[in-house]
Symmetry: C2
Subunit: 103 residues, 2 copies
DNA sequence: TCGATATTTGAGCGCATATTCATATATTGG
DNA sequence: CCAATATATGAATATGCGCTCAAATATCGA
């Protein structure tokens, strides 16, 4: 059994927010992107290269993650350097990766 | 920064499994069902009543969760009593609920 | 055995969403 | 200023998914 949390029923707003968080982590591409960014900032092109994805696909997913405040970026010349912004989500990800790998 | 986990690149199989786990938690209905079941076993009809859902919708979601071994059931007469099976996923859920509620 | 209740199961519909493609915007070097 | 590079953005497409509805299965009580 896990630790105690909220009462019943769960507030609508809470459910929606929790759902948004897990949904963000529920896509293979976003998992790979976040995992890569957890090692340090990287440009869109670099991410695309490392993960064999089109720059456009990566950019779309980064926009998605940006809307949820899970990543941020800073400009460096003509490139955008992205990095992780949410430690809790990163913790969820790493925790689950470890659990899956040798759980 | 969060705790250290797997190297790069993440194995395909790992990514898929992690993705499946989070996807299961990425739906409001499944969140409500799991949250309810974390308080103890319950029948399909009882879940449906508590969450204002059709028994069929609940049953479909339970089948989904069953396939991922996140819940199990036992028969009690003509009803099926479902309960949680995966403590890690339950921990992820409660952890995130707490974080969202007063993070 | 028959009817009522509880649940499962499968098909179908409508909607969300991930990717691609084309185009727009911005920055740098020449 | 122009061409080249890097990224963003929007439309279109294709796939996935949650719900409903109808029908099947199973259990229990009369």
């Amino acid at each position: 059994m896990a630790t105690e949390s909220s009462g019943f029923p769960l507030p609508e707003e809470t459910v929606e927010e929790v759902s948004r968080t897990f949904k963000a982590l529920g896509d293979p591409t976003r998992i790979r992107i976040l995992h890569l960014l957890s090692r340090g900032e990287a440009s869109v092109g670099r991410i695309a290269g490392a993960l064999s994805l089109s720059p456009s696909a990566v950019s779309h997913q980064l926009a998605y993650l940006r809307n949820l405040r899970l990543v941020k970026y800073r400009r460096k010349g003509s490139t955008y350097l992205y990095s992780c912004l949410d430690d809790h989500v990163l913790a969820l990800l790493h925790q689950t990766i470890r659990h899956v790998e040798h759980g």
